[in-house]
Amino acid sequence: MQYLLLIYEDEKRWSNMPQPEQENEMAGYLAFGKEFAASINAGKALQPTTTATTVRVRNGKRLSTDGPFAETKEQLGGFYLVDARDLDEAIAMAAKIPGAKAGSIEVRPIMTFS
């Protein structure tokens, strides 16, 4: 079996956290990653929802809107982690996902840690 473990939390908590606590929490994630290294296929942190774009295709027309997906009548059904040159390429890909015709695709940049 495979499972997707989705991390939900108040993103402001992280941005308001003092640095020592952030480091402490990062250490926790590193320890988790090490403990389950054999089981984890992929794991990424996301940029905050202020960087999100929601893409829908209705009647063959592509609609991009600023902001995260906010509809409670639709539920997370899957995901792709993709490489794209920039947001336009990512949006073009998102619009080709069959689910974009009935549902919504949220495009969120991945966080990179330097």
């Binding site: 960087t51 774009t53 947001l87």
Partner: protein, 417 residues
Amino acid sequence: MTSIDELYRVEWGHLLSALIRVLGDFDVAEDALQDAFAAAVVEWNGAAPRNPVGWLYSTARHRALDRLRRRTRFEDKRVAIAEAMATPSRAPDVLDDEDAVPDERLRLIFTCCHPALSAEAQVALTLRTLCGLTTEEVARAFLVPTATMAQRLVRAKGKIRAAAVPYRVPEAGDLPERLAEVLQVIYLVFNEGYAASTGDALVRGELCAEAIRLARLLRVLLREPEPELDGLLALMLLHDGRRAGRVDERGDLVRLSEQDRTRWDQVQLEEGRTLVRSTLRLGPPGPFTLEAAIAAVHSEAERADETDWTQIAALYERLYALHPSPVVELNRAAALSFARGPAEALPLVDALAEPLAGFHLWHATRADLLRRLDRRGEAVVEYGEAYALAGNDAERRFLARRMEEVGGTRGALTLPE
């Protein structure tokens, strides 16, 4: 000699777009350009160099590159070393040539008007970066606190960076759709300056001027003629050309039919009309061109009762075919009432009751038709409805006056809580 203020107004967007292209960062480019203008005030000491734009560009670029190098060293020495190893000892020609300031404004327009940004962020970013309005000026124009506007701009620029909103002109396949979005932003800027009756009048007039300037700029930057862009520019020229007649001594809005037409800017109106005529020859007109054509017909009448309402009604009919909205249909009905009489228009207006019953202009239009049909009692009721729903005082004063003309009394007028 060109003053620094004037350079700021005219060249800000041009310089900023070139710097963003070289530096790859909105904030760094903006800070550096601000610094360069501040330096110019001190160093030129009233006497501008031979090529002031080139001076500002190279000063801003040097300062930004210095700052980026310092920042890189501070944050991560390894990156700085890697960069130094990868960078050729000589910068590309375009960076060396002090005189050459490439025009990158078209890229900047498409980045600022990217659909992944909210409409209000698109408008604010366009005014700040392309037009060079300060954050305070943009905030004042939109009647929001400066801190709110600053936050909006920070967020938009943050998203451009974090989500990698591209800095480029869309590919041919996406261009029509993306261009339509740019035109919407320009129109929003114009409307914000034109339609609102509150706020700082000076800044608002400036917004109209900026929107017209943006449309003119876009016409120069796009190589292919774009009929709807011409239509939009014509529409703005034709509305803005009537500006002086729109407000009376008390600052109240004056209705089109009651405006002193000698106060209209005939030069600007003629430019608008010429543009409409040439755009109509390019092919089937889009919505902006049709609206411009309607404004052009209005502008041709020396007196309100000389207006060619038959033509206006026909133009609204074509607009409705492209844009089937009940408000367009209401306008067509109003035009028909002048072309062929209120009796013919009333059933058309009545048919719009369902979508428009909450809209004060539906009631005001219906009231006007009833008044002209001498159905006074019904007219009084409709004026009352319109009064209760009207958005501003000038409009309410007009409605109250009209209601008294048909025998109603002001005592009957109520406002919602």
